[in-house]
């Protein structure tokens, strides 16, 4: 008998299992192939815009994706450096083999995690409460179950006119679990994604492509562990392009693509943000070329991933396409591109804590909830793990708000709005982007990690030290005044800044957009780590905007605090619009704020609902 069974060993499953272990729970992680734990079946990179911030958020809560990525990266980059602080993020090229090895090592560190190889095919349920799972051979009992099945439910690999039941990269799929979920009343949706071909790096002519290097300073996802690494050993990516010849091959053969007639029975929806190369060519007819990034899969493997060339053409057309590209003329394809169809559940059937509304103590995280991406999966995995433990301990659910974390935005979007295509986090999905920065993930979330005992003493100490230093330097900037003498004004003029008329604190001077923190060293030697300086600079420079965002967020929170009691019959509420009745009954929002975000529910419906709740509370 386990406390918690985690089904699936991907990015959601690993976070869920490890965080549950930190809660001192007896955990069983069931996966179809232990050697394929924490696979990166698509791009060999972690992070990116918004996603990179999620990695730091998971880390701040006590998760592992950040640390493992830091240990396994072969190139680190900071994105959007020319833009403002709210949109900067890290991305790492990952050595896939190393990542999987390091994650397995991490799992094995926890003696209360049992790794089991098997394929979950059914659930054991009593009185609408989860009791365990069944694999093909055996039954496993637990007080809570977290399903993180990724793209394995009834997965079909599509190449040209062929459809084959298989998980990604010829792994075994789960054949019956989604049907069994449907029998329990779950609404099943079918989604699709795809992956490009991998080619042999020894057959690529990199000389004719553009090199893309990593950052020239050490970067780390982890908020607590700053790895120094050898910048000279950073591996490069390479940029090449499609060309008119590529486009002609695609147009001439378009009917052979699974999605354009190769297969007649496509019922799934693919991701809008990640179109196949044939989609790009057909939809953007005028574009003369499309970028393709060549990314190393690992140091040991010869495989190079061609980002931008996802497709479901038959292999002979793939050969033609690849060979039409500059630098790839003579290359050998090691694995072919494919599209993959899989079952997921409609995430509107989940509560904010990722527990299913239908079955108590059954949680879901990752692609089964209609998302895409390793980072999105990890973010849900840690939240499902924490909440499963809190349920077992009979404690209040842990829900992150939209102004606290991208993870909060992600989960709220899923359970409130549902998905049409695989959901990817974007900065534009966050209303309070300026609050959800890369630099302040620890300031936003580490107190939760501390509260639930998910950070070790050392980590808490590191975090507290950072806050202390930040405060100290903020104070110093406020206390240090400079006067409008000739020397200072000449210095400022050199920096294209206006002259001083009165004395000014360095704090206020830093608010000028053209004055960087480094420029203040003339007056005050700021002897702090880069991380502290970064936080300090953003905090001071964008104070006005941050305050504005905080004010807006407070407005939203007001509605968020008003709970909607369970079991409301919306059809009995007079004056509610019919669409609102239907949507509210389906989604069962827990707060007035959440109700307000459901599309089709109008402000007037919210007013009526709020009056109704108030009446209920008073027992009328």
């Amino acid at each position: 008998m386990y406390d918690i069974i985690v089904v699936g060993g991907g990015h959601a499953g690993c976070e869920a299992a490890i965080i549950a272990a930190k809660f001192k729970k007896k955990v069983c992680l069931i996966t179809s192939n232990i050697n394929n734990i924490a696979d990166l079946p698509c791009n060999p990179s972690i992070g990116g815009s918004a996603k990179g911030v999620v990695v730091r958020e998971v880390d701040a809560l006590g998760g592992v994706i950040g640390k493992i990525a830091d240990q396994s990266q072969i190139q680190m980059k900071k994105l959007n450096i020319k833009k403002g602080p709210a949109v900067q993020a890290y991305r790492a090229q990952i050595d896939k083999d190393l990542y999987q090895k390091n994650m397995l090592k991490e799992l094995k560190k926890h003696s209360n995690i049992t790794l089991v190889e098997g394929m979950a095919e059914d659930l054991i349920i009593e009185n609408a409460q989860i009791k365990g799972i069944k694999t093909e051979q055996e039954e496993y009992c637990a007080r809570a179950v977290i399903l993180t099945t990724g793209t394995y439910l009834k997965a079909d690999i599509l190449i040209g006119n062929t459809r084959k039941r298989s998980g990604p990269g010829s792994e075994k799929p789960s054949l019956y679990l989604s049907d069994n979920l449907a029998k329990l009343g779950f609404d099943i949706i079918r989604l699709k994604t795809g992956t490009p071909p991998r080619v042999d790096k020894n057959t690529v002519n990199f000389a004719v492509t553009d090199e893309e290097k990593g950052a020239d300073a050490c970067l780390n996802f982890s908020n607590f562990k700053q790895n120094e690494y050898d910048l000279n050993k950073q591996v490069s990516c390479y940029l090449t392009y499609t060309n008119p010849q590529t486009h002609e091959i695609i147009r001439n053969n378009i009917n052979k693509s699974s999605m354009y007639g190769g297969l007649q029975d496509i019922a799934s929806v693919g991701p809008r943000y990640c179109p196949s190369i044939e989609d790009k060519i057909m939809r953007f007819y005028d574009k003369e070329r499309h970028q393709l990034f060549l990314e190393p899969v690992s140091l040991k493997s010869p495989k190079v991933y061609i980002q931008g060339l996802s497709t479901s053409f038959p292999i002979e057309i793939q050969e033609q396409i690849v060979h039409s590209i500059k630098g790839l003329e003579k290359c050998r394809i090691i694995t072919y591109a494919y599209a993959i169809e899989y079952d997921a559940i409609n995430p509107q059937q989940l509560k904010q804590n990722l527990e299913t509304k239908l079955i108590k103590n059954l949680f879901m995280a990752g692609q089964i909830n209609g998302t895409s991406g390793y980072e999105e999966a990890a973010g849900q995995g840690i939240m499902a793990g924490i909440n499963a433990c809190l349920n077992l301990d009979k404690k209040k659910a842990f829900v992150l708000k939209r102004n606290e974390a991208y993870i909060g935005v992600l989960i709220d979007d899923l359970v409130t709005k549902g998905v049409i295509d695989p959901y990817r986090l974007l900065t534009s999905r966050a209303e309070y982007r300026l609050l959800l920065r890369n630099d302040n993930a620890d300031q936003r979330l580490s107190h939760y990690g501390e509260k639930y005992g998910l950070l070790c003493k050392k980590e808490i100490e590191i975090f507290k030290q950072k806050l202390k230093k930040l405060k100290k330097w903020e104070q110093k900037l406020k206390e240090t005044y400079i006067s409008p003498n000739i020397e200072n004004n000449e210095y400022l003029q050199k920096l294209n800044s206006t002259k001083l008329k009165d004395r000014i604190s360095l704090y206020d001077l830093l608010k000028r957009s053209e004055i960087k923190l480094e420029a203040l060293q003339k007056w005050l030697k700021i002897d702090a780590e880069i991380e502290i300086k970064e936080k300090l600079e953003v905090q001071v420079k964008y104070e006005g905007y941050i305050k504005k965002a905080e004010k807006d967020a407070q407005k939203m929170l007001k509605l968020e605090k008003i709970k909607i009691p369970e079991g409301i019959d919306y059809y009995k509420i007079q004056n509610l619009a019919n669409e609102a009745k239907q949507k509210l009954s389906e989604i069962k929002p827990t707060t007035l704020g959440q109700a307000n975000r459901i599309s089709g529910v109008n402000p007037s419906d919210i007013a009526i609902l709020s009056v109704y709740i108030k009446g209920k509370r008073n027992g009328k």
């Binding site: 959007n80 403002g84 990640c274 709005k417 534009s428 999905r429 905007y545 007079q574 599309s599 108030k614």
Partner: protein
């Protein structure tokens, strides 16, 4: 702390008195700032006070102010209700002043929402209010539908679309930083767009204000030297409008003395009594008095005598009216012309004879032309004359100005985008279309992205 909100609590345009309700912690402080009378901060709860709403030195309206301190109020917050007596224009003006002094414009139903949130209303009491909210919403829906077909709102929508495109484009730059084949939105591009959008919205704003004038009337004065024919002009205008002239006696609308409806254009005549008085006096135009009137007026009809040369006072007045909506009415054109028309260059001149009806028609045409009234479609007016949407438009323009100053301060694109989103949001409130998913859909429709 909750924002202090203000809104017109009575239906606009109906009834002689309109009530502005202000609710929130700062309600009494804010109203006290713009009120001349006793110190409201010291006023006991549930008392009424007489005084004036002022903007700077200028008295805007004569009002009765009710002070109700929390918690025994409609919203359970401090509430001030201002009984405005000066008609719709003065009410809107008072609302504008409140907003300028720190109030936020109340959303529809927001007072009721607060009343509920603060535990003031129970279900049975609320049922009545709920019906009201509902009917308001229906009206809003109808209005939104109406305005979508109108040209002014189509323009707002067009500008909002431009902002949507810009935001989506910036979003792509942020979310797909390495897609170099997608053109980067530069600060310069934002600057150009913002300038264009602001210009267009300012025009809409101006047109809306004019639209408001049609519905609420144009404050009009007739000035001129004695014996030039002011009262004849007035009489001719009144003659045409016998049934419509109303004498609103016994109210505090000291400005408006009668309304004339010229083919749907309402002129609120101001200080017609003055015309009668000047009849008794001799010679001079009364420069001082005229200047005061000019300040109050939205339209000035300056009457001159075709049969006389311009005197110095008249020349001064001609100079003064140039910056305002004005028409120089040259009367008595049936008599010999003595007036030097060169001195009236660049002015809006209409020649009439108060003895000939058709000549007066020319004056009416001129007025309509001046306020662009032909161009503004009636169906738009219903929407853009609401104080709420005009205030939203004003707020939008203010945010655009903030963006311009942020551009001047070299803020990065993604910081500018935060304010662009606010503009988008406000415009969406005007057209009833605020819908976040739109931007994300746009992002995928127009750009080629992906792995």
């Amino acid at each position: 702390m909750e924002k202090t909100i203000a809104g017109v609590a009575t239906a606009l345009g109906i009834g002689a008195i309109s009530i502005i309700r202000v609710s929130g912690e700062e309600a009494i402080n804010i109203v006290n700032k713009i009120f001349i009378g006793e110190n409201l901060k010291k006023a006991a709860s549930h008392t009424i006070h007489y005084g004036f709403i002022v903007e700077g030195e200028k008295r805007v309206d004569e009002v009765l102010v009710s002070i109700m301190r929390a918690p025994r109020t409609y919203t359970k917050e401090d509430v001030v209700e201002i009984n405005c007596h000066g008609g719709i224009i003065a009410t809107n003006k008072t609302l504008e002043i409140l907003l300028a002094n720190g109030c936020e414009l109340a959303e529809p139903g927001e007072f009721t929402k607060r009343a509920f949130l603060n535990g003031r209303i129970d279900l049975i009491e609320a049922e009545g209010v709920m019906n009201l909210i509902n009917s308001q919403t229906e009206l809003n829906r109808a209005a939104a539908f109406n305005q979508l077909q109108g040209s002014v709102s189509a323009r707002i929508e067009k500008n909002r679309k431009k902002i949507t495109d810009l935001i989506a484009h910036i979003a792509v730059n942020i979310d797909y930083p390495e897609y170099e084949d997608i053109e980067e939105v530069t600060v310069d591009k934002i600057k150009k767009n913002v300038r264009k959008i602001k210009k267009d919205l300012l025009e809409v704003y101006q047109a809306s204000k004019n639209g408001k004038l049609i519905q609420e009337g144009i404050n009009t004065v007739i000035i001129g030297s004695p014996n030039v024919g002011k009262s004849s002009l007035l009489n001719v205008l009144i003659e045409e409008n016998k049934a419509i002239v109303t004498d609103i006696a016994g109210t505090t609308r000291d400005l408006v003395e009668g309304k004339l409806n010229l083919d749907g254009v309402i002129l609120n005549l101001i200080d017609t009594a003055g015309i009668r008085k000047t009849k008794d006096k001799i010679e001079k135009i009364g420069v001082q008095k005229s200047l005061e009137l000019i300040k109050k007026a939205e339209l000035i009809l300056l009457v001159l005598d075709n049969n006389k040369k311009l005197d110095n006072d008249e020349l001064k007045i001609i100079e003064k009216v140039k910056d305002k909506n004005h028409i120089i009415v040259i009367n008595k054109i049936d008599l010999k012309s003595q007036i030097d028309k060169k001195q009236l260059a660049n002015a809006n001149v209409v020649e009439i004879s108060t003895f000939e009806q058709e000549k007066v028609t020319k004056l009416k045409e001129k007025i309509k032309e001046m306020f662009n009234l032909e161009k503004i479609q009636q169906k738009d007016l219903t929407y853009l004359t609401s104080a709420r949407s005009i205030a939203l438009l004003q707020k939008t323009i203010a945010i655009l100005e903030e963006i311009e100053s942020s551009v001047a301060n070299n803020q990065p694109v993604d910081v500018l985008e935060i304010d662009l989103k606010r503009v988008w949001h406000e415009l969406g409130l005007i057209t009833g279309k605020t819908y976040e998913e739109e931007i994300i859909e746009q992002l995928f429709a127009n750009f080629c992205l992906g792995k």
